[in-house]
């Protein structure tokens, strides 16, 4: 035992006497985690968040959240002598006068972009594989909360440098707050401390960005991970994997090394990216002033969909009794995002209710085995993507030389028509894939070898599925469900069912989910199929022997059998062919 290990052992002993930690360690160091590339997405989120925290602390050393006007005297020549806010001046100082400051600022920005992107992809993974199902619904809700917080963290941070772009973003945010009925003007004045841009607002934004939002994220991330640990990770279906076990590698040493190493990979890539690729060059945009703007303004990617919603919304406004309701702002910026996040948070509960599924699920579902859910997910992605495209409609117009009005009208109609279309197509594809899986489970896979039987029938020889693949495909059996039956208006004794309407709705939803389900093969059918495959192999066996005895080196592509089941030579087969043609005349 080395001296380091001795010291480590002594520390563990010291802690154990005070915390009882060895009991926990003994149990958890061997904890098994399943392996799949998509489980890394969550790790990327955590690691990029850690990078954001580390680099953020460095930035707070120099950044000044103040809108007081100063004359810039730093080393960036084009802006020398220009009047600007302390916030912008200190951002320039970080970028040009603090060595490595620009690197850290860019790492902060890149890590934030990767953080939000990884959140999105991780959420897709969890959704499409049904990982949110019982018992993990609560963790899904926490995850949805984290998405909202991440968007807030991004937007508040993006607004801090007080360059021309970020100020325009804030002005839009203020316009949205102001549009809220009844309390809008007061809410805007209280939040922004008076009119825009004001003076004290930046310190409030700063507080939200470095204390309030990250504090909440940290708290929720902790709970999120503790739940993953406690409930154990889900796993994909596969050989030997059941709903009652976890198959994978132990924490110590495999995941210590893999996950620990992956942290350095993510950290390292963010640093390399920040060294190589400029991001948010605020010195080019110049200081903010509320009466200037640049064309082609774009928010960070994750805000793009909200901006797009604002852009494509028709200009509806209601004026009644001397008051204004700005639907053109409320619908895209308040109502639609509110509905989207609410629907997202409630989805696990809605699906469980509609399908009547109360079981615990630790085996993930292959997206094709849940066609309706996959369809809904793709529908949401299409809706989001169209909004996002709307956020760049001016860039689309200038890049592809299209009319901006035409793009906007395409999106207005497309947002209503294309998502349902995407749902239908996705569902169809899933059902098709399920049918293919069913075939494979029943008959194995097609070998491409044609065999002519003694009585003239041609068959294609099937090969049995590899066991690992069979286990994956067979997961369609577990996913299969039948719709809930339509409720009766009265029970057997003629008593009226008080819950009839609700039960009917539920039955309808259940039908929506399962009506078109592909019936999976039964075990008897699989056995019969396997017997058939074995029979084909038997029929083909003599040909294999023949090939071997004749030293044939070319790949084997099938052959023809005599009546007695003996293989023919090619000449004989040719002869037999002629015979059969004659026979058919």
């Amino acid at each position: 035992m080395s001296t380091t290990e001795k010291a480590g052992g002594a520390t563990a002993q010291y802690l154990d006497e005070r915390l009882g930690s060895n009991k926990w360690l003994g149990k958890n160091l061997k904890k098994v985690f399943p392996d799949h590339w998509s489980f890394m997405l969550g790790e990327i989120i955590l690691y990029s968040f850690i990078v954001v925290l580390i680099t953020g602390v460095f930035l707070t050393l120099f950044y000044k959240p103040s809108l007081v006007e100063v004359i810039y005297e730093g080393s960036y020549v084009p802006l020398k002598g220009v009047e600007m806010t302390e916030a912008y001046a200190s951002t320039l100082q970080i970028s040009f006068d603090i060595r490595g400051g620009l690197l850290i600022r860019q790492m902060h920005h890149w890590a934030a972009l990767i953080f939000v992107a990884a959140i999105a992809v991780h959420a897709f993974r969890v959704f499409f594989t049904g990982a949110f199902r019982k018992p993990r619904e609560l963790n899904w809700v926490i995850g949805v909360g984290l998405i909202v917080l991440a968007l807030g963290a991004g937007f508040t941070g993006y607004s801090l440098p007080d360059d021309l772009l970020s100020g325009t973003g804030l002005q839009i945010a203020r316009g949205i707050v102001q549009a809220i009925p009844i309390v809008g003007t007061w809410a805007a004045f209280l939040l922004f401390d008076g009119e825009f841009p004001g003076v004290d607002f930046m310190s409030r934004l700063y507080m939200a960005h470095i204390l309030l939002i990250p504090g909440l994220i940290l708290a929720l991330v902790t709970v999120h991970l503790m739940l993953v640990w406690y409930q154990k990770h889900t796993q994909f279906p596969g050989q030997g994997r059941t709903n009652e076990n976890v198959v994978g590698y132990p924490l110590m040493p495999i995941y210590m090394a893999k996950a620990g190493g992956f942290f350095f990979i993510v950290f390292g890539i963010i640093a390399l990216l920040s060294g190589l690729v400029n991001i948010n060059p605020v010195w080019i945009f110049g200081p903010y002033t509320p009466d200037q703007v640049t064309a082609g303004t774009q928010p960070d990617w994750y805000i793009g969909w909200l901006d797009g919603a604002l852009r494509v919304m028709p200009n509806w406004e209601t004026v009644a009794f001397g008051y204004t309701i700005s639907w053109n702002i409320l619908i895209p910026a308040v109502i639609v995002p509110g509905l989207i996040f609410t629907a997202m948070a409630l989805y696990p509960f809605l699906e469980a209710w509609a399908t009547g599924d109360k079981r615990e699920h630790h085996l993930l579902e292959r997206p094709r085995n849940a066609p309706v859910r996959t369809g809904i997910g793709v529908m949401a992605i299409v809706f989001y993507s169209l909004l996002w495209l709307g956020g760049g409609n001016d860039l689309v117009a200038t890049t592809f030389d299209l009319s901006i009005n035409a793009i906007t009208w395409f999106l207005r109609i497309g947002l209503i028509v294309l998502p349902p279309l995407a749902f239908i197509i996705t569902k169809r594809i899933c059902l098709g894939l399920q049918r293919k899986d069913r075939e494979k489970l029943l008959h194995g896979y097609e070998s491409g070898r044609i065999l002519r039987l003694p009585h003239g029938e041609f068959i294609e020889v099937h090969e049995p599925l590899p066991k690992a693949q069979q286990a994956v495909l067979a997961s369609m059996i577990e996913s299969h469900n039948t719709p809930l039956p339509a409720p009766a208006k009265t029970d057997a004794n003629g008593v009226r069912n008080k819950r009839y309407r609700i039960d009917k709705l539920r039955s309808r939803l259940s039908n929506f989910y399962y009506r078109d389900a592909v019936a999976p093969p039964t075990m008897a059918e699989i056995e019969a199929g396997q017997a058939h495959v074995a029979h084909e192999a038997e029929l083909e066996a003599p040909l294999h022997e023949y090939e071997e005895s004749n030293y044939v080196t070319v790949p084997f592509h099938g052959g023809v059998l005599h009546e007695q089941g003996e293989p023919m030579t090619n000449a004989e087969a040719l002869e037999a062919d002629k015979g059969s043609e004659r026979g058919s005349d």
């Binding site: 860019q106 009925p181 841009p197 400029n278 509320p290 200009n315 702002i329």
Partner: protein, 367 residues
């Protein structure tokens, strides 16, 4: 080392494989012929498992990564002390990049990356790659545990007398309901109207006023010089502000007024003006409109002089300045407010009053 390199495909982990056959599925009917267990999973030994030489090669490879990481740290420190922020380098595809940022980023990034790459290579090539199985445990409590929890709760409720003392219970609920009110009240002073010029005005009233008054000269944004009608050619656009804008900014130390009273001046052939918001609000074909979009408040200056269309760069609301600034496309619901203008005795453009309607985004009280 030897026990690492000679490790084969045997399941030598401390997790024994389960005795019972694990079906392909949890359902008992599938524990028949198709049932598969982890023991059936084909395991291919890696080269580093079979060949001690291969294992040593991997070891050298990982060592190299860790060494490279250390070298990168040294290079980082050298770059930190020797480069300055004004030097730039040209990198194909990426363009012109600060040399210091590039050197620091690449060395720092590589130093971190190689640690991760080494660790993962270690895990993948030298640590065991045999999957092990652990059982899941039921999350829900047993009926006994449920009953024990319920009994504890009942006992606590009894002992506290929460059910028995009705007055206590109700007053406690009342007190708990009211105590957050101070926290809400405190929000009120997040903004107070301290500006003497705006004394007694509500937010909506403040939003409805700008610095423009009768006779106030119009100055050009940037130069802050007054402007004569003949300085604006037909088809031209000038961004402008009230003459006293800099004084206001100095007095209040903010840019609020600039965000409200910014205007654009456009000149068109008087014959092309189809309508205005007020009779004769132009001056010889020069029209003044607010620069702040009525949608969510972006400043607008994208003007196409042949069609007289003004386009907002943020959300593409389009206004027809020859037709009272009405909305012709996009999400904005209201026309751009027009400012009535004229000239003073010296021949400079002036405002003839404030805007007749609030500028900028809509709000509830605007009507």
């Amino acid at each position: 080392m030897s026990d690492l390199t000679t490790r084969g495909s045997d399941n030598s982990g401390d997790q024994p494989l389960p005795e019972k056959p694990h079906g392909i599925l949890a359902r008992p009917e599938y524990e028949g012929p198709g049932a598969l267990t982890v023991a059936d999973v084909e395991h291919r030994p890696r080269r580093s498992d079979l060949d001690p030489k291969a294992a040593r090669r991997v070891e050298r490879q990982i060592t190299l990564m860790f060494l490279l990481s250390m070298v990168m740290v040294v290079l980082f420190v050298i770059a930190y002390v020797s480069l300055n922020s004004t030097q730039t380098v040209y990198i194909p595809v990426l363009g012109l990049i600060g040399a210091q940022n590039l050197a620091l980023g690449v060395t720092f990034g590589a130093a971190i990356f190689f640690i991760g790459a080494g660790a993962i290579q270690w895990a993948k090539k030298l640590m065991p790659d045999v999957e092990v199985v652990q059982d899941r445990h039921r999350l829900a409590s047993t009926p006994d545990q449920d009953a024990a929890a319920a009994a504890q709760y009942e006992r606590g409720k009894e002992e506290s007398g929460f059910a028995a003392y009705r007055i206590l219970r109700r007053t406690l609920i009342g007190a708990l309901a009211l105590f957050p009110i101070p926290l809400v009240v405190l929000v009120r002073d997040m903004w107070t109207n301290t500006d003497p010029a705006l004394e007694g005005l509500s937010p909506a009233e403040i939003l409805s006023e700008t610095a423009w008054t009768e006779g106030l000269p119009i100055v050009v944004d940037g130069t802050y010089q007054p402007i004569r009608p003949e300085d604006i050619p037909v088809g031209g656009l000038v961004s402008a502000l009230p003459e006293n804008i800099l004084e206001i900014q100095k007095e209040f130390h903010n840019l609020n007024e600039r965000g409200k009273s910014a205007i654009i001046l456009v000149r068109m052939d008087p014959g092309e003006i189809r309508s205005q918001q007020g009779d004769g609000w132009d001056y010889q074909g020069i029209l003044a409109f607010s620069k702040i979009c009525t949608h969510v408040g972006c400043p607008i200056a994208l003007y196409e002089h042949r069609t007289h269309h003004l386009l907002c760069p943020c959300h593409q609301s389009t206004f027809d300045l020859a037709d009272s600034g009405n909305v012709i496309f996009g999400p904005a619901a209201r026309r751009m407010p027009q400012l009535p203008i004229g000239v003073n005795e010296e021949g400079f453009l002036i405002a003839r009053s404030d805007f007749q309607e609030p500028v900028g985004p809509s709000f509830w009280e605007r009507g």
